[in-house]
């Protein structure tokens, strides 16, 4: 029973007014999202922001309290079965069967996807090869490293050739090398035209992988856009200058009136809007004899961005 909407060819996920509460605690509040087919969309936010809850709702695990959701053109409420046939989910916690070997895990997924026997074997062999698990194929995940288990987990998700994949914090807890491998695997999937919704706590990860990012805080989207758009909105980049005495700080604060001074620490915090050019400008205005004891450069990280956008959001709320 198909209930395809008109824009189904272009839109993979459409969410309006999504809301979920547990008792008094609202965990997802008025969330709107549109994810295009073939796009990588990242939900970025700290623990408890509602990322996982959104993934659990969109992947049919829990019902929303309110809101309209279509996934690959199917209404999530009416056609959950059809949605399940098109999605693949790799959750935060490993969903591999620890008593079965890597290969048996993949074949089990193939059976549950109702693939014909020959297809099952071919697909499993292909995924083991691609995810560098050929040597570990006949061992149980008990002997795997964290990165290997995560790769097997994603390979299991891919057995049924999903068109939309949910990756809930795919690199949390992985070492840097495993993280790089995982990023490459995700890029390869995108190249095949798969749509991906990933959640992450890491700005860099969203920046590296996502076409578009939505930042979540307390269940609300506080900022959304391409990585470049978001970065432009981040006022977190600054130089921090520490001076030898109060007099030097006074003098510098007069020269650099846009800076924020801290009299106890004897520091001046100057916004960095244009990188090296800003730095050169700041140093020129200070002059040669300024008693600068220390200079540090701060680039925006998730904390800066996050505090910036949540700060803006609360101002908007008050107005």
């Amino acid at each position: 029973m198909k209930t395809l909407t008109d824009h189904a060819t272009a839109t993979a996920v459409s969410v309006t007014g999504l809301r979920k509460a547990y008792g008094e605690k609202v965990v997802v509040d008025s969330v709107d999202l549109t994810i295009g087919e073939g796009e990588v969309f990242a939900l970025l936010g700290p623990n408890g922001a509602g990322k996982t809850t959104i993934v659990r709702i969109l992947s049919t695990l829990i019902p929303a309290d309110a809101g309209a959701v279509t996934v690959m053109g199917y209404d999530l409420r009416r056609d959950a079965g059809a949605v399940r046939g098109l999605i693949g989910v790799t959750g935060q916690f490993s969903a591999v069967d620890n008593l079965l070997t890597g290969e048996e895990n993949l074949l089990l997924m193939g059976r549950l996807q109702h693939l014909p026997a020959a297809d099952r074997r071919a697909r499993a062999a292909q995924l083991l090869e691609r995810f560098d698990l050929v040597e570990a194929a006949r061992q149980t995940p008990a002997t795997y490293s964290g990165g290997m288990t995560r790769r097997l987990d994603i390979a299991m998700t891919l057995m049924g050739r999903p068109r939309l994949i949910f990756l809930d914090e795919p690199t949390t807890g992985l070492d840097p090398r495993s993280r790089q491998i995982m990023w490459q695997l995700i890029r390869d999937l995108v190249a095949e035209g798969v749509t991906i919704l990933l959640t992450t706590q890491y700005l860099e990860e969203a920046d590296q992988l996502a076409d578009r990012i939505a930042m979540l805080d307390h269940g609300r989207i506080v900022a959304a856009g391409t990585p470049e758009e978001l970065k432009r909105r981040m006022p977190g980049a600054h130089f921090r200058l520490r001076f030898a005495d109060a007099a030097s700080l006074d003098k510098a604060a007069q020269e650099l009136s846009e800076g924020t001074r801290d009299d106890e620490e004897l520091t001046l915090r100057v916004p960095n809007e244009a990188g090296i050019r800003s730095l050169r400008n700041v140093l020129a205005r200070l002059g040669d004899d300024a008693a600068v004891e220390d200079l540090s450069i701060h680039t925006p990280d998730l904390d800066d961005v996050f505090f910036a956008v949540t700060g803006n959001a609360s101002k908007e709320d008050n107005s």
Partner: protein, 265 residues
């Protein structure tokens, strides 16, 4: 393919998975479902059997104590599989596996069907193995072919009931230790508070009423009558009614817990 064919196929897949699990956990399963009942058989028959056998009087119908004891040991073999079944279900529920299955187009009941089917198979294999050991140790049943068919039927019904009960327990517990702990009364306490080792008539008054009427006693008494070639009377029907009731309540409990699991975070 129709929804029904898919449901059957998915259940068969999950059953295959449980059989593989059982093979991987074989040593553990042999201990809980075969070694423990056999040790109980040896302890009670060789160490305590002399005295108990003398005290049995009419209950033994002139046969040695081992013939009285074995039917009870058989239900211990069934009950010994409760722990592993609950643990397997808990592991699936607390790990990410059940969530993975729920996001796939897999028929809803397949996972539990696989667990229960696997559990029943383990219980039947354990009972057959314990029967074999008992025969080697001197157990001499006087059952006819029809009696044996009835024995297998009652053990199968009892296994099915306890498998659903174990699955339900596994669904409501949040850790492997809790799953194991909650099945202990079923696998250990209830056999002692039944006619497994001694007739319930010899028990203190407070316990006697419970022991005489609880399902384990009715199952043991039916098996004992059938295996000794004595008339069974209504006991076998009562035992089957108990099995059906336990299976039905446990099934509903398990299904409700499984659905509720979907609504939790």
């Amino acid at each position: 393919m129709s929804a029904l064919t898919f449901a059957a196929k998915d259940s068969a897949t999950m059953l295959g998975r449980e059989i593989k699990h059982s093979i991987r956990l074989l040593r553990l399963l042999i201990v809980s479902a075969i070694v423990v009942p056999v040790v109980m058989l040896l302890l009670f028959d060789y160490i305590l059997g002399g005295t108990i056998g003398h005290g049995l009087g009419d209950a033994a119908r002139g046969a040695p104590y081992i013939d009285f004891l074995v039917p009870g040991i058989l239900i211990m073999a069934v009950a010994g599989s409760c722990g592993p079944t609950a643990i397997n279900v808990t592991m699936d529920m607390t790990g990410g596996f059940v969530d993975r299955i729920r996001t796939m187009a897999v028929s809803r009941g397949a996972l539990l069907a696989g667990h229960v089917g696997g559990s029943v198979l383990r219980m039947l294999v354990a009972t057959a193995a314990v029967t074999g050991v008992a025969l080697l140790l001197g157990f001499r049943p006087k059952a006819s072919v029809a009696d044996w068919v009835a024995v297998v039927g009652i053990i199968a019904a009892f296994s099915y009931a306890l498998a659903w009960l174990s699955a339900a327990i596994g669904l409501v517990t949040r850790s492997v230790a809790a799953a194991n702990g909650l099945t202990l009364p079923v696998s250990f306490l209830l056999p002692f508070l039944s006619s497994t080792f001694v007739p319930t008539a010899s028990m203190p008054a407070g316990v006697r009423w419970f022991a005489a009427n609880q399902p384990f006693t009715l199952v043991v008494d039916s098996l004992r009558a059938l295996l000794s070639g004595a008339p069974v009377g209504n006991t076998a029907y009562l035992a089957l009614v108990w099995c059906a009731a336990i299976a039905l309540v446990s099934y509903l409990w398990a299904q409700a817990s499984f659905r509720r699991g979907t609504r939790l975070t």
